[in-house]
Symmetry: C2
Subunit: 297 residues, 2 copies
């Protein structure tokens, strides 16, 4: 197998190559003056088994078009099999019609990725597992919870408690996974609809977090409101420190500010999203998956 790093995930691709002991394919990419993307394989890939690595974090449309063009070229040049690693799988919100006439963007992504020749898709902590049912090819939803927990294990933590920001099945599985790695406990906030405002709020009376370090484990932080709310509750219930481990730290607008204001001390993201919070790599997660060591949430 040989690895192709998309423009958004070159470092990640390098790390995967190192972890697996396999080479990166030399490629050339550029943008034309008018903004169009150009891609070129600098070596022959005919008959090769290819792994394409490209996260689809914002700007999603740009990252998606880059991925599509790489897939199209790989298949066109005669790659034998094409595995795709998309740590952040954009457009995973719309997997069903909440209202008549809505787009099913997750279904479109699946259709294009398959049409362009992908043989298998690996992703990390997808927000909604139903999205994966859109694919006919094998799909693997890996989790970064273990790697995030390993990061926190190196810190001097006091009796840590892992917190899932809501009590949905996936969130709890991720929290449990992290707790197992840290050999500690986990708990979850409960999702409820406010009877008066109709808003979805999270709360839980007794989190047994007094004098303990709380680690919130979440899949995506976008506006930061959910985590800010969780942090406020944890502080109210006497948490000592509040740390956040997140697979996809999108961190839109003033999300970091509102989390910090509500007591969050540190935010740890992964290289699924390239920013200053990407302190953990998802490369080992994929490497283990490709070796057959399953690490799915």
């Amino acid at each position: 197998m040989k690895i192709v790093g998309g423009p958004n995930s070159l470092n990640l691709a390098c790390k995967i190559g190192e972890a697996l002991g396999i080479p990166l394919i030399k490629v050339r990419t550029k943008r034309f003056p008018d903004g169009e993307f150009y891609f070129k394989f600098e070596e022959n890939i005919s008959g090769e088994n290819i792994l394409v690595v490209q996260s689809l974090c914002p700007p999603q449309d740009v990252r998606a078009m880059e991925l599509f063009l790489i897939l199209h070229t790989a298949r066109d040049l005669g790659a034998d099999t094409i595995k795709v690693f998309v740590p952040y799988l954009a457009y995973s919100r719309q997997d069903e019609r909440f209202l008549d006439g809505e787009c099913l963007s997750a279904s479109m992504m699946a259709e294009i990725i398959e049409e362009l020749g992908a043989d298998a898709l690996y992703t990390v902590d997808v927000h909604n597992e139903n999205v994966l049912k859109m694919y006919k090819i094998p799909v693997y939803n890996l989790t970064a919870s273990g790697e995030l927990a390993r990061y926190f294990a190196k810190k001097d933590l006091k009796n840590p408690l892992i917190i899932a920001p809501d009590d949905e099945d996936l969130a709890i599985r991720r929290a449990k996974y992290a707790a197992d790695v840290l050999k500690t406990e986990y708990d979850a906030l409960e999702k409820r609809r406010d009877r008066y405002t109709g808003e979805i709020v999270t709360y839980k009376k007794d989190l047994r977090v007094r004098e303990r370090d709380a680690i919130i484990i979440d899949d995506i932080i976008s506006t930061g409101k959910t985590v800010a709310n969780a942090a406020r509750i944890l502080k109210e219930q006497g948490a000592r420190r509040i740390l956040v481990g997140v697979s996809h730290a999108l961190l839109i607008g003033d999300s970091v500010k509102i989390m910090m204001e509500n007591g969050v001390e540190e935010i740890v993201g992964t290289d699924s999203v390239i920013n200053e919070y990407a302190k953990v790599s998802v490369a080992p997660v994929l490497a283990r998956a490709l070796r057959g060591e399953v690490e799915q949430a």
Copy 2:
């Protein structure tokens, strides 16, 4: 038939609807806080014949993803036939491999547009007609030259001469088309490779442009260098005024400045690209094409 205006071509879609006397479908579009596109048909389109209008001018990747999502939704909701009008067809550069290993982006665009259910594609003054051979569905390359010429016909022109900025077949056909509408002559600069620098330059000794108004008719203006060069030559040969009519006025960077500095007095673009130079609509061109009145370059 009913018309859907993509987010980049709503006004154009309205004009086409008016020209054809058919209604626009109500849709809702938005961007989520993280940048993902959302689309919703506000009325039932099952069994309808749909025309989707969306130009793919910069930012091309964003515009393309919007188009893909609209197509996917239209087909998914049971549209009977889907015609697509893409005045500016982005990614029309790479239709063949100039170097081994290169992407064929034009081929990818064709594959996705067809996969998502388009039954026919209409475009305007595509830069390279080979791109159209990538499609299995019927493709119509319309020209805006006639509409541009009609715009200039309203001006007080002195013995106008239409100029093609190079002598390639398509460029000459567009110039001839405009000249026929204006009932005047046309001429073309000649494309040559400079023997010393290897650069492609255009020139022609005797353009018979002295004391005449020159109208350069071009398909795309990106950096503006080709037109600036043509304008300089026309001025040298005694042109009175230099006007430019262009189907797709991308106008990257300081393109307008360098054209003006070389003697261009006015730039007239179409609503294929939304900017202050979009003084002509391509709506009548499509309307005539749909009525079966061919206006292909």
